[in-house]
C-alpha cells in the first residue's frame, strides 16, 4: 500500500470520528443547558474550552452566545474543527483514495457531506439542530459501518481504524478535562446538579447506558473518570482505544517502534490512577496522555507516511 494512501486513510478515520464526536458534543451540551438553571454556571462558552479554540473563535465572533458557538462548531467552514469542515476533509480524503475505498463508501461519504453542506447552516434553532445533528451522527456511523463491512481489513482499513481510535482517545481526554477544571471543585449552590453534570459527561461520549450497565452505582465523578479512562470493554474508554490501536499496529509491517510507544502509553495510563487525583492532578494527567497521543501520531507518521518533502 502506498504511503500516501495510508496517510489519507488514517486522516479519513480521524475526520469521520471528529465530525461524529463534535456533533454529539454540541447536541448533548444543548440538552444539558435546557436541564440546568442559570446559576449552575454552564454556558456555551465551555464548549470552546474543550476544543481549546477560544482564540480562533474570538477573532471572528463578537459574543459567545448560543447561535455563534453553535454556528462555529457545526457550520463554520473557516473553523477547521467544525463538523462541516471535518466532513469536507473526510470527503476529500476518500475522494482521493477512491481507487481503494469501496464505491458505496465513497458514495455515502459524499452524500453525507452534501447533506451537511445543505442542512448544517440552517440548523440554528434548537429543534432543527437536534434532528440534523442526529442525522449527521447516524450517517457517520453508517459510513464507518459500511467501510467495516465492505472493505478488506488489510492495511488500508487498519490505517482508518488507527485514525479513528486515536481521535476517539483524544476526544475522551478532552471531554474529561472540562470537569477536571470545574466539576471536582463545585461551589455549593451547584452541588445539587453534580449528578446531571456528570451524566452529561457520559452522554457526550455515548457512555451513559454502558456506564449504568457495568458500574451499577449512582453516578459519581470518580467512577466516571475511572470508567472513561480504564474500562477495558467500553469502546470509547481510553484503554479500549489503546487496545484497538495496538491491534491495528501489530498487523502493519515495520511496527516495532510504534507498538512500543503505544505500550508505554498504556503503562502511563495504568500508573496514573486518575480516579484518586484532585482536580489539578487530573488535569496534569490528561495533559500527559494527550501529549503522548501526539507523540504516537508522530511516530505513525514517521514510520509509514510520505516524508514531508515528497508531499
Amino acid at each position: 500500500m502506498l504511503s500516501r494512501v495510508a496517510e489519507r486513510m488514517y486522516w479519513a478515520g480521524r475526520y469521520i470520528e471528529r465530525a461524529e464526536n463534535t456533533a454529539r458534543l454540541v447536541r448533548v451540551h444543548g440538552n444539558m443547558l435546557l436541564d440546568l438553571p442559570a446559576r449552575a454556571g454552564r454556558t456555551w462558552e465551555q464548549l470552546l474550552t474543550i476544543f481549546a479554540n477560544e482564540d480562533e473563535f474570538a477573532r471572528r465572533y463578537e459574543r459567545a452566545d448560543e447561535s455563534a458557538v453553535v454556528d462555529f462548531f457545526i457550520a463554520d467552514a473557516a473553523n477547521q474543527a467544525s463538523v462541516l469542515s471535518s466532513l469536507a476533509l473526510l470527503r476529500e480524503n476518500i475522494r482521493t483514495t477512491r481507487d481503494i475505498v469501496p464505491t458505496e463508501g465513497w458514495e455515502s461519504a459524499n452524500e453525507l457531506y452534501l447533506y451537511a453542506r445543505r442542512e448544517l447552516p440552517r440548523a440554528g434553532s434548537e429543534r432543527t439542530r437536534h434532528r440534523t445533528l442526529s442525522e449527521v451522527i447516524t450517517a457517520c456511523q453508517q459510513v464507518t459501518g459500511l467501510l467495516a463491512g465492505t472493505m478488506s481489513h488489510g492495511p488500508g482499513y487498519q490505517f482508518l481504524r488507527l485514525g479513528r481510535n486515536l481521535e476517539r482517545a483524544d476526544m475522551t481526554t478532552r471531554v474529561l478535562d472540562v470537569p477536571a477544571a470545574s466539576l471536582l471543585n463545585l461551589p455549593d449552590e451547584v452541588a445539587p446538579y453534580r449528578y446531571t453534570l456528570w451524566m452529561n459527561v457520559l452522554k457526550s461520549l455515548s457512555a451513559y447506558q454502558m456506564y449504568c450497565q457495568y458500574v451499577r452505582r449512582r453516578i459519581v465523578g470518580e467512577d466516571v473518570i475511572d470508567f472513561l479512562l480504564l474500562d477495558p470493554r467500553f469502546p470509547r474508554s481510553f484503554r479500549h482505544c489503546l487496545g484497538e490501536i495496538a491491534s491495528s499496529l501489530e498487523s502493519l509491517p515495520r511496527h516495532e517502534e510504534a507498538l512500543a510507544e503505544s505500550a508505554a502509553l498504556l503503562a502511563e495510563l495504568e500508573d496514573a490512577d486518575g480516579a484518586n487525583l484532585d482536580a489539578a492532578g487530573l488535569h496534569e494527567c490528561l495533559d500527559r496522555l494527550q501529549r503522548q497521543l501526539g507523540g504516537l501520531h508522530r511516530r505513525i507518521s514517521d514510520t509509514w507516511f510520505l516524508p514531508v518533502d515528497q508531499q
Binding site: 500500500m1 502506498l2 504511503s3 500516501r4 494512501v5 495510508a6 476529500e92 475522494r95 482521493t96 483514495t97 477512491r98 481507487d99 481503494i100 464505491t103 465513497w106 458514495e107 459524499n110 452524500e111 452534501l114 492495511p155 502493519l252 509491517p253 515495520r254 509509514w304 510520505l306 515528497q310 508531499q311
Partner: protein, 482 residues
C-alpha cells in the same frame, strides 16, 4: 398530445436519431417510441433523476475558479446517441487502421526516418514540431508501439460523412465518463436495454489492464501496474482514480515514485520500496522527468526517462508520442496510411489547408470568414478561430497570427456538425455532437463500442469541451435487425 419528435426540427443539420421529418433512423425506433410517449414533465423528471444519480455517485470534473478547485457535477444528457452496428464496424476498422499507421510512423520518426527519406513527410515539418522529443530517438518500445491509448475525435458533416477531426495521442481523457454515462443511462432507461442488443462498453478497464501488463518489461505473472496522476487538483483526477480502481492498480503521484541507482522505478509503500513495471501516465511529456525536461516540474519523477530508455519500465503512452498528435501531422495521416499499410484510408480526414504552404495559406487568408482556424499544438478547443462567428477584430488578429507563424496553423471548412435530440427543460432540441472512441494497441488492437459522445449544450454552439460548456451522452452501438 402529438408525438414530441414530430415537432423536433434539426433544420439543415444531419440528425443522429431522426430524419428531417421526425422518422427514426435505423436502430433508434425503440428509443424514439419511448421519447414520444413521455410527457414533458416525465421527460424532465428523468433528466432530474439522472442529475441526482450523478451527484450521488460523485461523478465530477474539477475546474479552477478564483484560485480554488471546484468539483463540478458532470453535465450529462439522458438522450443517447445511437449508431447501427453495421456502420460502427466500418468505423472500428478505420480506427484500427489509423492507429496502426500512426504507431509505425512514430517508431519510424524516432528510428530510421524512412518516411522522411522517401519524401512522404517533409523534414521541415518534423524540424519545427514542438512535440518531437530528441530524448526519445533510438528507443524501441515493446511491439514498436508508442501511442498505446488513442482518443480520436469523429464528427459527422451535413451530408452524413463521418470524418476524423483529430487524434489525441498524448493523454486523452474521457473514457471514465463513457463508462459512467452508460451506468447512469441504464438507470434512466432500463427497459430499452432489455429488448434490444446494445453493445457493452464495460470491458475497457480490463482491456487497459491487459495492455499495461503486456507492455511491462518483465516475465513476472503479476507485474506492478500503476496510474500516475498529476494529483487531486487535476481536472481529470476523477478519471485517474476511477481507472486505477477498476484495474486494481495503485494510483500514484510523482512523489510516490523514485528511481533507484539500478535505474529501476520504485514506489514508496508502507513496506518500503516496491518495484514498478508499467506506468499509465496521465501527466504531459515535459513534466515527466525534471532531470530531462522542465526542471521546475513538481509532478514528475527524477530519472524516469533514464529508466524508460533502459527498458526497465513501460510508459503508456510512450514519451514523444505527441509528435503524431500535432495538427500539421494530422494533415499527412491519409498519406501515412497509404505509405505504411498500402491501403486507402477508411475514415477520411476533414479537408484541411496547411498555412505553412504558400498557395494554401493564400486560400485561407482570402476565405478566413468561412473557415475554422486551429493552432497546431493546442487541445481542449483553446486558441481557435471560428470564422463565421468571429468579429472583424478577431479575424484581423488571426490574419496576423497566421502570417507571423504559418507553421502553427491549419484551417478547415466550418462543418455542419450533426445534432442529437437533447433535453432542454421539458422539450427536446437539436444540439451538436462529436464522438471520441478510444483505441488501444499493444500486441493487439481493441476499440471501444462507440465512445464518448460530447454535446454542445448551448444552442447553436459547436464547442463540446467540458471545460467550455459541453456535456456528454451515452453512445449506443445497436445491433441491426434483419
Amino acid at each position: 398530445m402529438p408525438p414530441r419528435l414530430t415537432r423536433y426540427d434539426p433544420r439543415a443539420f444531419h440528425d443522429e436519431l431522426v430524419t428531417g421529418d421526425g422518422v427514426p433512423r435505423p436502430g433508434t425506433e425503440r428509443l424514439i417510441d419511448l421519447l414520444n410517449t413521455l410527457t414533458p414533465a416525465a421527460l424532465s423528471e428523468r433528466q432530474a433523476a439522472a442529475d441526482r444519480a450523478i451527484a450521488e455517485m460523485g461523478i465530477t470534473f474539477t475546474v479552477y475558479s478564483e484560485g480554488r478547485n471546484i468539483d463540478r457535477a458532470w453535465p450529462f444528457d439522458i438522450v443517447p446517441r445511437v449508431i447501427p452496428a453495421s456502420e460502427w464496424a466500418r468505423i472500428d476498422e478505420g480506427l484500427r487502421q489509423r492507429l496502426t499507421a500512426l504507431n509505425l510512423f512514430i517508431d519510424d520518426l524516432y528510428n530510421e526516418q524512412n518516411v522522411v527519406r522517401d519524401g512522404v513527410f517533409p523534414a521541415e515539418v518534423l524540424g519545427t514540431s514542438r512535440n518531437y522529443l530528441p530524448e526519445c530517438a533510438g528507443v524501441s518500445p515493446r511491439f514498436g508501439v508508442w501511442a498505446h491509448i488513442c482518443g480520436s475525435d469523429l464528427v459527422r458533416d451535413g451530408d452524413g460523412t463521418v470524418y476524423v477531426l483529430e487524434d489525441n495521442l498524448r493523454v486523452p481523457s474521457g473514457v471514465s465518463y463513457m463508462l459512467e454515462n452508460r451506468s447512469v443511462t441504464k438507470r434512466v432507461f432500463p427497459d430499452l436495454f432489455e429488448d434490444q442488443t446494445i453493445l457493452p462498453v464495460d470491458d475497457y478497464p480490463s482491456e487497459l489492464f491487459d495492455l499495461l501488463t503486456a507492455i511491462a518489461p518483465t516475465d513476472e505473472r503479476e507485474p506492478e501496474v500503476v496510474v500516475l496522476t498529476p494529483g487531486i487538483y487535476n481536472s481529470a483526477y476523477f478519471e485517474h482514480s476511477y481507472l486505477a480502481q477498476r484495474m486494481g492498480a495503485e494510483l500514484v503521484e510523482g512523489g510516490d515514485l523514485v528511481v533507484g541507482d539500478d535505474d529501476c522505478v520504485y514506489m514508496r509503500t508502507i513496506e518500503g520500496l516496491t518495484r514498478v513495471h508499467s506506468i499509465y501516465r496521465r501527466i504531459d511529456d515535459t513534466f515527466l522527468d525534471p532531470q530531462v525536461f522542465r526542471p521546475d516540474s513538481m509532478l514528475g519523477v527524477p530519472g524516469l526517462m533514464r529508466a524508460w530508455r533502459k527498458g526497465n519500465v513501460a510508459l503508456a503512452n510512450a514519451p514523444g508520442s505527441g509528435v503524431a498528435d500535432d495538427k500539421m501531422v494530422y494533415t499527412y495521416v491519409p498519406d501515412l496510411i497509404r505509405y505504411y499499410l498500402d491501403q486507402d484510408p477508411i475514415i477520411p480526414n476533414v479537408p484541411t489547408w496547411r498555412c505553412a504552404e504558400r498557395d494554401q495559406r493564400g486560400h485561407v487568408l482570402a476565405n478566413l470568414a468561412e473557415l475554422v482556424v486551429k493552432p497546431a499544438n493546442e487541445s481542449g478547443g483553446y486558441g481557435m478561430l471560428i470564422g463565421p462567428r468571429a468579429s472583424r477584430a478577431e479575424l484581423a488578429r488571426f490574419r496576423e497570427l497566421i502570417q507571423a507563424d504559418p507553421r502553427n496553423y491549419i484551417a478547415q471548412p466550418t462543418l455542419a456538425l450533426s445534432t442529437t435530440p437533447t433535453v432542454c427543460g421539458e422539450t427536446l432540441a437539436p444540439r451538436h455532437v462529436d464522438l471520441r472512441p478510444f483505441i488501444l494497441q499493444s500486441d493487439r488492437l481493441a476499440v471501444t463500442a462507440g465512445g464518448l459522445t460530447r454535446v454542445a449544450l448551448v444552442e447553436g454552439s459547436l464547442v463540446v469541451n467540458s471545460s467550455q460548456g459541453g456535456g456528454s451522452k451515452d453512445t449506443w452501438v445497436v445491433e441491426d435487425r434483419d
